[in-house]
C-alpha cells in the first residue's frame, strides 16, 4: 500500500479547511488526524455538507404545518396529501459539475435528487429542472444548454420519471457559473416512509448498488470552492451517471422496503460513504464500524481515503434487520446489483474505518457533524438599485414581439420536448402551462408542480425578491387550480465570505420565510449552493423555489387556454411598476428601480379567489402575471388557445406601465360574457380589485391600438429557442 501523505496545516488547506478549522480538529482529537481522517473531516465540514454559513439563517424558515410529516433534515420533505398518502420532494443543485461537464453534471444531478426521493420509500412521479445560463451570445452558453438539457433528459428519460416543468433563464451574470437545480417528487403511503436513523447495536450496515470508483474524489470540496479559470484542470473528477443502474436500484429498494427488511436507509451523495454512514449513526445515536475490504470496487488499489470520499453514483447504504439479510440479498441478485455487508453499528460513539487490516480512521462520530463549524458571517444590507430613469416609448406590439421572441420569453418546447414528460401516464397538464399537473396514480387526485424565482428582483431587493419567488410559485399553483401545499428551495448565491453576498442571502431567506409563512407553504426540504462566482464575479442571487400544490379532484384543474369569444378579467391591482422589469431589461438592458413590492395578503386573497371562481364554474381559464406583465400573459394565453386576444388601453397608465408593468398578485382570467358580472362581483366580495380588460377571439393579439397577427407571434415564440441555439 502506498504511504499516505503527512497531515499538516498545508494539506488541510488543500482540503479546503481554514487554519482555525484545522485547529478545531486537532483540539477535538488531541492528535494529528490520519490522512483518511482529514479527508473525512474535509468532507463533513465543507459548506456543501455542513451548511456552516447558512444554517443560522435556514433555522429561521417556517417548516411546520398540519400538512408536514417531515420537514428539512431528512433526504427529502414529506407532506400529507390525504387518504394515507404523502408527496415527498426536494430540490438540489449540481451547478459546478454541470459547468465542467454539462451532460454528466446535469445527469448526475438528476440521479442524486431522484435517489433522495426514493431513499425515503417514495416512487418518483415528477421531476423539474431550473436552469440559469449566461448570455446567449457567450461562447460557452449554447454548448452548456445543449449538454445540460441532453443530460437531464438522458437520465430522467431512461430512469422513467416524467420531467414536467422547470425554468430556463439567460443572464450574463451566469456566464462563468451556470445553475442546474433539479427537483424530484415521489409518492408513498404515510405508513411506509423510510428514514436515515440507524437503530440497534450490531445490526449489519449494507452497501447496495453500483461499485465504487475514484469518481469525484475531492468533489465535495470542489462544490464549495469558488471557480477560477483553471477549473478545467479539475476535470478528471467528473462522475458519470448510469440511469439504468439507478432504475434497478429504485425497483430493488422499493421491493426491499416492502419486504420489511429495512431499518434505515441513506443514499450516498457527495462524499458518499462518509456522509451517509455518519448520518445514519448520528441520527440513531450509534457508532459505525466499516470494513472497507468488503466495499465493491470498480478499480484496483483503491485506498481508504479514496473509498471514503468517492462520489460514485447509484449507491445506497442501509441498516438491515439481521434476520432478513438473505431475503434482501436475493432481491438485489434479482436486479443484478451489488450487495455487501460492509460493517455494523456499534454502541460507542465511534466512526471506525478498517482497511487491509489497519485502522484508517477512528473518530468520535457525533462530533463529526455535531462540532462542525457554524458561522454567523458578517453581512451588509444591499444598497438600493439605481433609480428608475425615463421610460422609453416603444410601440406595445413591437415590444411584445421582441419580448416573446427573446431567449428569456420564447417557448421552452425545445427543452421539454427532449424530456419524456408523459411516462407513467399520469401527466394531466404538460409542461408549458403555469404549473404541471400529475395525477396521483389510480385516483382522481392530482399534484401540481412549479419552480420559480426572478433573480433580477433578488439582486435589486433581496427581501422583496425572496418573497416574490414564493409568491410567484403560489400564483402558478393557484392559476392551475391547485391549493399550494409546501415548498422546497435551492438557494444559489456567490461567496458568503463577502458581506454583500451574505447580505443577499440573509435577506432573501427572510423574504422567503415571510412569504412561506403568510401563504402557508412551509419549507420542507432544500439545498444551498454558495461560492457561485468566477474570478470574483457572483451570479445573481437565485433562490429557486420549488412548490407543490394539491387538487382533490381533476375537476379543479384550470386550463391556461381560454375559448374564443370570452371576456378577460384582470384580478389584482395594477400600478404600472416598471422597476427591474423585463420591459427595461430585455429591450434596453437596463436594470433600474426597485423590485416590485409583494403584498402577501393580496397574493393570498387573489389565489383563493381564483380557486373559488373555478369551484363556482365562473371561469374557463386563468394565467398568472409575472415578468412581462399583462401583455406577455395575454399573449401566452392566446398562443395556448390558438385564438386572438384584445386588451384595451388603460385610461390613466402609460402603455408601458399598463401592458408591461410587473405589479404582483395579479391573474388574468377568462369567462363567458354572461359570467362577467358574477366574476367581478365575486372579486369584489373577496376584496380583490378586478376589471374587465379585454376579450378573446380573432386572429391577432391587440394591445390597445397596436395589433400583431397571432401567426407571427406563434412563429417568433415557437422558434426563438432554436434560433438562439443556432439551429435556424
Amino acid at each position: 500500500m502506498t504511504r499516505e501523505p503527512d497531515v499538516n496545516q498545508e494539506l488541510a488547506a488543500g482540503h479546503g479547511l481554514k487554519p482555525d478549522e484545522y485547529q478545531r480538529i486537532l483540539d477535538l482529537l488531541g492528535r494529528t488526524p490520519t490522512f483518511t481522517e482529514l479527508g473525512i473531516f474535509s468532507a463533513m465540514w465543507n459548506e456543501h455538507c455542513s451548511y456552516k454559513s447558512s444554517k443560522r439563517w435556514l433555522r429561521t424558515l417556517p417548516t411546520s404545518g398540519p400538512q408536514v410529516i417531515q420537514g428539512p433534515g431528512e433526504n427529502a420533505g414529506v407532506v400529507d396529501i390525504g387518504d394515507g398518502q404523502a408527496v415527498i420532494f426536494k430540490m438540489e443543485s449540481h451547478n459546478h459539475p454541470s459547468y465542467i461537464e454539462p451532460y454528466q453534471g446535469a445527469a448526475t444531478g438528476v440521479g442524486g435528487i431522484l435517489r433522495d426521493v426514493f431513499t425515503m420509500g417514495a416512487r418518483p412521479i415528477a421531476a423539474m429542472n431550473a436552469l440559469s445560463f449566461g448570455d446567449p451570445s457567450h461562447p460557452k452558453t449554447r454548448s452548456l444548454v445543449a449538454g445540460v438539457v441532453a443530460g437531464i433528459g438522458g437520465y430522467g428519460n431512461c430512469f422513467g420519471v416524467p420531467t414536467v416543468g422547470g425554468e430556463v433563464r439567460f443572464h450574463p451574470a451566469y456566464n462563468g457559473n451556470c445553475l442546474v437545480n433539479a427537483f424530484a417528487a415521489g409518492l408513498a403511503d404515510t405508513d411506509s416512509i423510510f428514514y436515515s436513523a440507524a437503530s440497534g447495536v450490531g445490526t449489519p450496515v449494507v452497501y447496495l448498488g453500483a461499485k465504487t470508483g475514484r469518481d469525484g474524489v475531492g468533489g465535495a470540496t470542489m462544490a464549495s470552492a469558488e471557480f477560477s479559470d483553471d477549473a478545467e484542470k479539475k476535470r478528471p473528477t467528473v462522475q458519470v451517471g448510469d440511469p439504468f443502474t439507478e432504475k434497478r436500484l429504485l425497483e430493488a429498494c422499493l421491493e426491499l422496503m416492502a419486504s420489511g427488511a429495512v431499518i434505515s436507509i441513506q443514499d450516498m451523495g457527495a462524499a458518499g460513504l462518509t456522509c451517509s454512514a455518519v448520518e445514519m449513526g448520528d441520527k440513531g445515536n450509534l457508532g459505525v464500524e466499516l470494513d472497507l475490504d468488503r466495499v465493491p470496487c470498480r478499480e484496483d488499489g483503491m485506498t481508504a481515503y479514496e473509498m471514503m470520499l468517492s462520489e460514485s453514483q447509484e449507491r445506497m447504504l442501509m441498516v438491515l434487520k439481521p434476520a432478513k439479510e438473505a431475503e434482501a440479498r436475493a432481491i438485489f441478485d434479482k436486479w443484478d446489483l451489488d450487495f455487501a455487508v460492509v460493517g455494523h453499528t456499534i454502541a460507542e460513539d465511534r466512526f471506525l474505518i478498517k482497511h487491509g487490516g489497519e485502522t484508517k480512521a477512528d473518530l468520535p462520530l457525533k462530533a463529526l457533524s455535531g462540532t462542525a463549524p457554524e458561522y454567523d458571517r458578517p453581512w451588509t444590507e444591499t444598497p438600493p438599485p439605481p433609480p428608475l430613469g425615463p421610460i422609453p416609448l416603444t410601440d406595445p406590439g413591437e415590444a411584445l414581439t421582441r419580448l416573446m421572441g427573446s431567449p428569456n420569453f420564447c417557448s421552452r418546447a425545445w427543452v421539454w420536448r427532449q424530456y419524456d414528460h408523459m411516462v407513467m401516464a399520469d401527466t394531466v397538464v404538460r409542461p408549458g402551462s403555469d404549473a404541471a399537473v400529475v395525477r396521483v396514480h389510480g385516483t382522481r387526485k392530482a399534484l401540481a408542480f412549479t419552480s420559480d424565482v426572478t433573480p433580477r428582483y433578488c439582486k435589486a431587493n433581496p427581501f422583496e425578491g425572496g418573497k416574490q419567488a414564493v409568491a410567484e410559485a403560489y400564483r402558478n399553483l393557484s392559476a392551475t387550480g391547485s391549493r399550494p401545499l409546501a415548498t422546497t428551495d435551492n438557494l444559489n448565491f456567490g461567496n458568503p465570505e463577502r458581506p454583500a453576498i451574505m447580505g443577499q442571502f440573509v435577506r432573501c431567506v427572510q423574504g422567503i420565510g415571510a412569504a412561506c409563512a403568510a401563504l402557508d407553504m412551509p419549507i420542507v426540504s432544500g439545498n444551498v449552493s454558495l461560492y457561485n462566482e468566477t474570478n470574483g464575479e457572483a451570479i445573481l442571487p437565485t433562490p429557486t423555489i420549488g412548490a407543490v400544490g394539491l387538487m382533490t379532484s381533476l375537476d379543479q384543474i384550470i386550463p391556461m387556454a381560454p375559448g374564443a369569444g370570452e371576456v378577460l378579467v384582470l384580478l389584482g391591482v395594477t400600478r404600472g411598476h416598471l422597476g427591474q422589469s423585463a420591459y427595461l431589461w430585455e429591450l434596453r438592458a437596463r436594470a433600474e428601480g426597485d423590485a416590485p413590492p409583494v403584498d402577501l395578503d393580496a397574493e393570498r386573497k387573489a389565489g383563493e379567489l381564483v380557486r373559488a371562481l373555478k369551484a363556482q364554474g365562473l371561469i374557463t381559464a386563468a394565467h398568472d402575471l409575472s415578468d412581462g406583465g399583462l401583455a406577455v400573459a395575454a399573449a401566452e394565453m392566446a398562443l395556448a388557445a390558438g385564438t386572438g386576444v384584445t386588451i384595451e388601453a388603460h385610461p390613466a397608465l402609460s402603455p408601458a406601465e399598463w401592458f408591461f408593468g410587473e405589479d404582483q398578485a395579479r391573474y388574468l382570467v377568462a369567462c363567458r360574457p354572461a359570467a362577467t358580472d358574477a366574476v367581478l362581483a365575486a372579486a369584489g366580495n373577496a376584496g380583490v380589485p378586478a376589471r374587465r380588460v379585454g376579450a378573446t377571439g380573432g386572429d391577432t393579439v391587440a394591445l390597445g391600438a397596436s395589433a400583431l397577427p397571432l401567426v407571427t407571434l406563434h412563429e417568433i415564440h415557437g422558434t426563438g429557442f432554436a434560433r438562439m441555439m443556432g439551429e435556424r
Binding site: 465542467i100 470508483g213 476535470r235 458519470v240 478499480e299
Partner: protein, 79 residues
Amino acid sequence: MKARVYITLKNGVLDPQGAAIRHALGTLGFQGVEAVRQGKVIDLDLAETDRARAEASAKAMCEKLLANTIIENYRVEIL
C-alpha cells in the same frame, strides 16, 4: 483523404455501457470476459488532400465536436 477517429473513455471513467455488455455476454454463456469498454469510431471522408492538414483538421474536429475531452480520449488515423 480518409481519416478514422477513435474515441475511447479515459481510464477510471465509469463505462455503464461496457458493464452492461459484459453482463449480457455472461448471461449468453461467454465466460472469462473480464472487462468491456465501449468507444466510438468515426470515419471521415475529407476533401483535403494534404495528409498533415487532414490530420490537423480531424484533430480540431475532435476537440470541437467529436470527442468529449473531459471524459474521452481520441486518436486520429489518416488512412
